[in-house]
């Protein structure tokens, strides 16, 4: 299994509080991603990173920020949690994919279940 650790695995927080989720990898992959999983929507990309201090927005980035100060760590922050952010959050990693290579695969962490009450 790819070395991806998400913490915490479960969290309950109150509306309006800040929350930070951590993704740690031991694979030295350049790309890291945060997805959220909601019933009927599959997984949707929140933010991603293509290197240290290099990040960009995904499909559902409103209300979230990220930081990557080291290759191995990618943090997702909810500045002021809302009930709509109750979800399961997955971190994923992948390596640089030149066009035409066969080594295209993203590896996923075990997920963090976040409940905002």
């Amino acid at each position: 299994d790819a070395g991806i650790t998400q913490s915490p695995r479960h969290k309950v927080t109150e509306t309006g509080t800040p929350v930070t989720l951590r993704c740690h990898q031991t694979e030295n992959h350049r790309y890291m991603y945060w997805y959220r999983q909601d019933p009927g929507h599959g997984l949707r990309l929140i933010h991603y990173s293509y290197g240290v201090k290099d990040t960009d927005k995904g499909e559902v980035s409103d209300g979230y920020s990220v930081s990557r100060s080291k290759t191995e760590d990618f943090l997702l922050t909810l500045e002021s949690a809302t009930s709509s952010q109750t979800s399961v959050y997955f971190c994923a990693i992948s390596e640089v994919i030149p066009i035409g290579t066969v080594n295209t695969e993203a590896f996923f962490g075990q997920g963090t279940r976040l409940t905002v009450v």
Binding site: G42, G58, A92, G100, T104, G111
Partner: protein
């Protein structure tokens, strides 16, 4: 940009019966295609992928999928399912011009295998 539609949210099937999980996609560029499986309370595991070459792709656990470019489909099949195949299955695409392998997922299909 890409989008993925999984036509069935739930598929009930009896053990040892064949199954097909349907996936259609749209994209303005050529794509790579993937099927992932998620067992309860776990992350996603790659079942199989289509990058190029033969349109019939074989994956783990006896699953296979066929890429049909004209119908923009990538349906997943298994000739005989087991109880242990009960899980949620996700179809995903990535544009080949996407250096980072960002995935766009379908909504998922829950496969329920009954004894």
């Amino acid at each position: 940009a890409q989008s993925v539609t999984q036509l069935d949210s739930q598929v009930p099937v009896f053990e040892e019966a064949p199954v097909e999980l349907r996936c259609n996609y749209s994209s303005s560029v050529s794509v790579y295609l993937f099927w992932y499986v998620q067992y309860p309370n776990q992350g996603l595991q790659l079942l199989l992928k289509y990058l190029s070459g033969s349109t019939l792709v074989k994956g783990i656990n006896g699953f296979e999928a066929e890429f049909n470019k004209s119908q923009t489909s990538f349906h997943l099949r298994k000739p005989s399912v087991h109880i242990s195949d009960t899980a949620e299955y996700f179809c995903a695409v990535s544009g080949i011009d996407n250096a980072g392998n960002m995935l766009t997922f379908g909504g998922g299909t829950r496969l329920m295998v009954k004894p």
